[in-house]
Each structure stands twice: as structure tokens, then as C-alpha cells.
Amino acid sequence: MGTEILLQVNNVKKYFPITKGLLFVKTIGQVKAVDDISFTIGESETLALVGESGCGKTTTARLILLLEQPTHGEILLDGKDIYALQGDDYRRYRDRVQAVFQDPWSSLNPRIQVRDIVAEPIIVNHKLSRQEIRDRVEKILVDVGLDPVHADRFPHEFSGGQRQRIAVGSALISNPQLIVLDEPVSALDVSIRAQIMNLLRDVQKQYHVSYLLIVHDLATARYMAHKIAVMYLGKIVEYAKTEELFNNPVHPYTKALFSAALPSHPDIQREEIILHGEVPSPIDPPTGCPFHPRCPMKIGTVCEKEIQTLRCKDNTEHWVSCGLYAEGRPEPETGRQQ
């Protein structure tokens, strides 16, 4: 799985300026929405970004979709810097990287027939005949579990789950290498979510497509993703293969997040790590480890002052950014601390 690297994100930062004044605009500060993150996505691989509201997940997605310019760092697709793409390469990027968003009600144009919504990515750039387009659309509709007979209908004639199928179909039609999925099931009813999750897994195999999956639900991440990056205040604090992360979470924030997740059975009693306070503002993030003001395990200056970077834990593919794992420190006992 994921032997060939498809997407590489290297030390990317995205700072949004905070401005003041109408006539004489002055920058008075910066929102550090994404602050020096690095990860890779392999071919046919799913990477999940998990973390709470405002930690920078959507900004990361928008950077990959060329909707934002990074303040620093580079993003490579097949080894090529995506911000340096020109002409045909730039246009082809739009075929190769597609997206599906959370809300199937607002993301589909209500005045356009489903046939044309699905066909949109191949209408502009591809020199295909009308018949070819028609055939492609009908095949895709079948692949995403819709009846091609309904291709002439409008989005409002479909339920939420069906609309999300339409969105997946449209994202697939240009044979992309990567699809960014921003909370693709969280707006759907519980009995519909499994349909869409299974569909996404099935078309991934069929089309050999990679996913960047943004979710806040950890159970969904475990079901869908091969690798997971846990974000907090614009940084990746822990990054590992899915099963490794769930079996052996090491970052205190990851542990707190896991302990806060709802159990799937009333007999599951988890150690409750209740964090106090709320996530600080990304405008003036804490020094040192961004989590230190709320961390139940912090150890003085290492956590409060020193900037932590992702470090590979005992030569596994398990990365963590935490003062407890700082250079030169003996590695703490893993397993549940406290």
C-alpha cells in the first residue's frame, strides 16, 4: 500500500494577515492557520487529517486545491511543484486533483441537470464528442450507485445521500489521482453514511485514486484511512499508520482526543482525560508546543519554550511532535500514562 508517493507536502505554512483600517490598510497580526506541516500521500492511499474546529484542516485542503498560496513551503504532485505549474500542466492539475465537500445541498448547482454536473470536469478541457461524454457519465452514475435513467433530473430531486453520490461521480469522471474529501459524510444521516463510506472505499480500489480525508469523527477515520495526521493549532502533532495510531497513541493531545471520543458500547469505560480550557487563538499561539497550556503531562521549559518538530519514534513510521519525545530525552514508557 502506498509504495509510490503521489503528493508531498513539505514544511507548508499559511498565515492570513489581519488588517485594520479601510483607507490605509495596516497589517496588525497574522492568523497562523497552517504552521509548518509536512506529510505524504501514496498512490491509492487515504490520509486522514483529524483535529478539532479551526486546527487548519480545510486550509490545508485549499492549499492542495490551489485555492490558497502558501506563505512558506512547497507541495509536490508526482514530484512537481504545484505552484509552479503553467499552461497545460496547470489545467491538467484540475483534472488530477478533485474535491468533494461536506454539504451536498449547497455544493451542487440547483439549476443544472445531474448529467451536466457530473460531466463538468471533462467538458472544458477534453476534446470528447457528445456521445463519449454521455457514455462516460452513464458509466460513472452506475459506478456510484445511481440509475442513469435519472441523469436528466435536477439536484433537488435527490436525497442527501444521492447528492453526495453525484458529487463523488463528478469528482471521479476526469480520472483524478487525488480527491480531497472535506467531511464527506458528516452532513448525512447515520443510515446513509455507511453507504457513502463503502462507496468511497470501493471506487478507490476501482479507480486507484488517493484521498485526503478531512474528518472530525475518529471512528470514520479508522474505517477509511490508511494513515492519520492529528492536527492541533495549525500543526501536525502526531502522524502514523492508522492501526499503529489507534493501538499506540503517544501525543498527550491525541490521547485526550481519543479519550473524549464517544464509546460504541455502554460497557466501554475509557479513562477520562478532561482537558481544561479551550483551544487558544491561532493569532497569538502559545510558544513552544502549541498544546502546552492544556497539556496534563508537560515538563517545564522543553514544552513551554522549545519549538517541537515531528520526530520519528524508535524508527517506526510513527511521528510525534512533543517535548516528552524531544531530542536527547530518554523515550517515555508508552501505553497509557498517568
Binding site: E52, D189, L218, R222, F246, P266
Partner: protein, 353 residues
Amino acid sequence: MSNEPTLRKNTTQRANGNVILDVKDLRTYLFTKKAVVKAVDGVSFFLRKGETFGIVGESGSGKSTTALSLLRMEPKPAGRIVGGEIWFYGENILDKNEKEMRKIRGSRISMILQDPQTSLNPVFTIGNQVSEAFTVQEGRKNNQGTLLQRVIDLLRKVNIAAPERRFSDYPHQMSGGMKQRVVGAISISCAPDIVIADEPTSALDLTIQAQYLRLLREIQQTTGISIIFITHDFGIVAKMCDRVAIMYAGKIVEHGPVRAIFNHPLHPYTHALISSVPRMEARVERLFSIPGQLPAPGEMPAGCRFAPRCMYADDRCHKEYPPTFGGLSEHTEHTTDCWRLEDPTWEPKSYSR
């Protein structure tokens, strides 16, 4: 159709001890231009003192309409309670007039809504709104000094740090989690018997949700209030509830102690739904996925509402709504509305996971 559960194995008798709310065959219909939406269509359940009762269901299943009906706040002008009884400490809420209802709302049964934005008034300070809650219920007999102190104590009780300072904040100066705690404070300000919480945490982040759920539990332990928790999330049910009712298209299809439902779900819908939710604690090979979609309001199937999606449906299921079978899985209080339970040994097939 009779209202009493049909017997399956044991005698169904529910221990009447401490039942403070007893809802029988409640029907709330919405008379819209297009159709009559039977949002709540013959719902029965009860609530004991000090317990947490969950109502879980997908969107449009009628959870909020049920909750609002308990307070006689069914959506106007379309909504009307057309049948049933709601017994609260021996009196039928449906017999009360508006003046008597105003006394019950807020002071004996209060409600926390999903979106704290809509429950807090943006133009008044937090302190203002919490003290207003006290004065509405108790009249203006309080002297200002003790009132202020009580408001501050209450805000502290719901974990608002530095309440003396937060007191004069406006809602927009607070985070979502903080606002929801203020709403929680208002809802318990009058020491009610019942708090109805309609998806109070679905807009909150995980760690903030965990703080809030713990707070609700602590309040319950110290005050002994009963909570009706409305949610679409089985995780909330597993964590918070003693008993649970599963709603589908205006009906309670299954009802029972939480462990009985999780260990031994008998309604095909409950069973399939629990099998279709991914788990955080274990790797799941393949989720079961329920085919089809929820019935549109106003286009209810004639028989069992779940029949068009049910793998066990037969002809009768499509034509006739099933009776309520009780005394299931050794729990006298476990009931299910499904024809298959006529056969006392029937169980849904387990899905490979």
C-alpha cells in the same frame, strides 16, 4: 391497535416506581399545505426520577417534535397534538391551559436546544440573561445583591472560569462551548424536575463535548434531575443514557434499557443501524449499509415504516403496522414493533464485521 405491548416471552409489567413522566400514544401532526405530516405518530414512553432517557433517531424521525409536544410547544401554526396523554406527576399536560403551561415550562421542565445561538439573546449580557431566568421563575422578590451572587455561583457551577468577569460579557464574546454551558446554567437555574436536551453537543468539538457531558452528569448527580437526551448519535446513548427509544418516521420502533439494546437489538432497523456505525475501538472490515433512504414526510409507507428498506419484510409488513411486542431479551422493559417477533425464537441475522 391496542396500546399495551403484546407479550412475547415474559409478562410485561413495568415497575411503576418513580415514574414522573408517562407519555401514552402521543400524536402530533403537522398540517401543511401539501400534506399532513404525521411527525409523531403514536409514541409511548416513560421517564423515572433521576434517570437519563435517550431518544435516538435520524433527521425527520420526530424527535424534536416529540420534545416540543411535551411542553406544548409543537411547531405553530402547522403543528397540532391530535391524540394521546402526557402524565406528569399524575396530571395530564394536555389538559393544562396556557397559563399553567407557562409555570411548567422553565420551572419544572426545561429545554436545552442544539444551537446556543438561538437560545441566548445577543443584545443582553450573560449575567442579565441568567438573572432574568431567576426573576421570571421567582418574581422580583430577590434583592439584587443575593441575585448577583446566585448568578455567579451558578456560572461557576457550569465551569465558567472567572464568572465575576464573564458576567458582563455578551454572547458573541464567548466560544460555542461556553455559550452552551451558559444555556445549561439557565436550564437548571430553577431546579427543574426534567431537562430536555435536544442535541446539545452536536455543534461542539470532541474535547469540549466531553467537558459538557461530564458537567451534565455532575449536575444530575447533585440535583437528581431527570434528563431526556435527544440525539442521532449512538455514542451519546452509550455514554449517557440508562434507557433509550429508537425513533423511525414518527414511531418508536424499539425501546429498552441501554445494554439490552446494544447487546440484543431486535428491531431490524436498530440492528442494522448499530451494525452500520464505524467504531473507534476496533478495526471493522466492512460496515453493513442499509439500502434505500428515509421515507419523505407525507409519503409514509402504509404498514411498517421501515418495510421498504427491510431485509425481513413480507407482504403483511407492507400493509399493516406491527403491534408492540414486550418482555424481550429477558428485560421486561424491552419492547419492539416488528412482525417477526411473533415468532418467540426469531432474531435478526448478525452481519459479518
